[in-house]
């Protein structure tokens, strides 16, 4: 039987009225939890997983797919509305989504995020259906050297592309890496690093308090500083729900971006350990480099939202290929999901697509249902979400501050994270005022541990020889791309100078 027939068979068992309702319910809950600052996708899936314990396996997997997708969709909402990314890939969404909200186009940003997430999810599932086992094998070719080179490419481009001043961008990215080195050095047997004798620093800084502090708090500080400018979160004319629907022109703008980013994000998702953050970031970079409206990006371009969200969702599905065929979770969320799926009888491995066809195709068909359920749930939620933008500043400001506090606290249930969040907020505000971009700090913070692990493993494999990075064609090509990326602007500048002389 071909993949298509098997998929149809999967739909046959999963597509019942009760299961569709469960998928929508899972989607709603996932969206809600994913949008809560401080909860994030990993915790969201972990918290909602017990809801499926009393169900039959098919219904449980379908609801899990809805929850998983809902979390992926939901991360963008708080990024767009409040400038507080719900999860790490949504950092890129905030770059354009929030400026859109400030300009009164928050509804359009939400629609764009939903539609792009749907496109990303759909491209991801179709690719997984057609080439899942094959791509997992390609992903296996990405060893530590290739992963290190890929993340280096992402890290290098962060500083150059975000912000007005490349030097300050480089400092910001490198500082993000330095912050990430605080805590246990797991590769050296759990020795504390840069903790300066503090017990609280032994477990390192968590991403959520950092992102809430660096994005959320400065946002309220900015609101309070400009008291005279308007009453609500948005400035200028606010669009109604009808006006917020994407018109033909806007759909034309986001479609190519979403498709291109989905393919890239999906591929990154297939690589074990690369994750949705790398996917959404690389897609954003690609759009900024090749897109028609690249100059607008960072100040409220709809393409920015589309690139980030489609790549993130495509990567989220892509992560299922190594998860199912190799048992390697691509992210923390898929690791939690793997636990849930194994409880229902999944035995990941190369023979999964041969030995457990019913289960695997049931799961893939539930992804289609989950994706459709989430776009429906997301579109239903938009009017409610848009009403947040209408809340006057005098009411929303204390609420955002308190959500920041509770969000930071709820990560590890300790007050240290709250104080760290406040400190990070002040530092971010001052840095922003002095033209340092903040997003690179957060992205580097997320990517650095994976980079460090990969580069140190690669050196261990090669007994300390750097040739491992050049001898392998994939890593050599990625390093060459990194070099071109760094030196091309400098060379171009020199050429232009020589020509003008």
């Amino acid at each position: 039987m071909g993949n298509f027939d098997l998929l149809m068979q999967g739909f046959g068992t999963s597509l019942t009225f009760a299961n569709v309702l469960l998928a929508i319910a899972g989607g709603f809950m996932g969206l809600f939890v994913g949008a809560m600052p401080g909860i994030g996708a990993v915790t969201g899936v972990a918290l909602l997983l017990p809801l499926t314990f009393k169900m039959d396996p098919t219904s449980a997997i379908i609801m899990l797919a809805g929850i998983y997708y809902g979390n992926m969709y939901g991360g963008a909402y708080s990024a767009i509305l409040l400038n507080i990314p719900g999860d790490s890939p949504a950092v890129m969404t905030a770059l354009d989504g929030y400026p859109m909200s400030r300009k009164g186009r928050g509804g359009k940003a939400l629609f764009a995020a939903n539609i792009s997430s749907f496109i990303g999810g759909t491209v991801g599932i179709i690719t997984l259906t057609l080439f899942g086992p094959l791509l997992a094998k390609v992903g296996l070719k990405f060893g530590p050297a290739e992963i290190a080179a890929l993340i280096l490419l992402a890290l290098t481009s962060i500083g150059w592309l975000l912000g007005e001043d490349p030097l300050k961008g480089i400092v910001a990215s490198a500082l993000g890496i330095l912050i990430s080195t605080i805590g246990m050095d797991t590769m050296a047997g759990g020795v504390g690093r840069y903790t300066f004798g503090s017990v609280n620093l032994l477990s390192g800084f968590s991403f959520i308090p950092l992102v809430i502090g660096m994005f959320g708090l400065p946002q309220v500080m900015e609101l309070m500083a400009k008291k005279e400018e308007g009453e609500s979160l948005t400035s200028g004319k606010r669009l109604t729900l009808k006006e917020s629907l994407l018109d033909k022109g806007e759909l034309k703008r986001i479609l190519p971006t979403a498709l291109k980013s989905s393919v890239l994000g999906n591929f990154v998702g297939f690589l074990p350990g690369a994750g949705g953050t790398t996917g959404s970031f690389l897609a954003y970079v690609l759009e900024k480099k090749t897109g028609k409206n690249s100059k607008e990006m960072g100040s409220g371009a709809i393409e920015g939202v589309a690139a980030s969200e489609s790549a993130n969702n495509a990567a989220a599905v892509g992560a299922f290929a190594p998860l199912l065929t190799l048992g390697i979770p691509g992210s923390g969320t898929t690791a939690v999901l793997l636990g849930g799926l194994m409880m229902w009888g999944l035995q990941p491995g190369p023979l999964l697509f041969i030995q457990q066809t019913d289960f695997v195709w049931g799961l893939i068909s539930s992804m289609y249902i989950g994706n459709v359920a989430c776009i429906l749930a997301g579109l239903v939620m938009i009017p409610f979400l848009m009403s947040i933008l209408k809340i006057p500043r005098g009411i929303i400001a204390p609420m955002i501050v308190f959500v920041c506090i509770v969000g930071a606290y709820s990560v590890n249930n300790n007050m240290f994270d709250v104080w760290f969040m406040i400190g990070a907020g002040v530092v971010a505000y001052v840095m922003q005022k002095h033209k340092y971009p903040i997003a690179p700090i957060l992205l580097a913070f997320v990517l650095a541990p994976r980079f460090e692990q990969a580069i140190r493993r690669a050196f261990s494999i090669s007994n300390g020889s750097a040739r491992i990075f050049i001898e392998k064609p994939i890593s050599a090509a990625l390093l060459a791309a990194t070099a071109i990326f760094i030196f091309a602007p400098v060379v171009m500048k020199l050429v232009r100078r020589i020509r003008t002389k």
């Binding site: 080195t181 500083a225 005098g394 204390p398 501050v401 506090i405 509770v406 709820s410 007050m415």
Partner: protein
Amino acid sequence: MIGQVTSHMDILIVIIEIIVALVWIQQGIVRYQFWEDGKPGGGFVPVIFASLVLIAAVAILIREVFSKKAKESYTFQPGAFVPVAAAVLGGFMIQVLGILLSVFMFTSIWMRFLSRYSWVKTLISSVLFTVFIYGIFRMWLRVPFPNGFIFQLF
């Protein structure tokens, strides 16, 4: 100080960056080892990226000091630090009063005295927000909030 903050602050930021980079390099080489047993040690990645911070920060410093371009400035707004002070206060309130009372009092004080809303609007909004926070985080997501120092006395 309300007024124009000039490039002095820029230079101060750069100096802090240089100090951080030097500490990271020193600790990375001396304490955590840059290279040991023929492979990278715990100081390998930190030293490389701290060196990058150092080089870029020195370049910014040189540019700031020798640049003939007019320095950009911004107006320092003390109002911007109200949320920071409020967040610190909110943190202490949680430890002393517990989450329920804190969220209610925090929102009420801000809305009544900073935003100057009527008592009716203030109380309605504060109660609704308290129910939201408690319902979502405490009841549904089961985040164990501190009970508050005062309530632990009884």
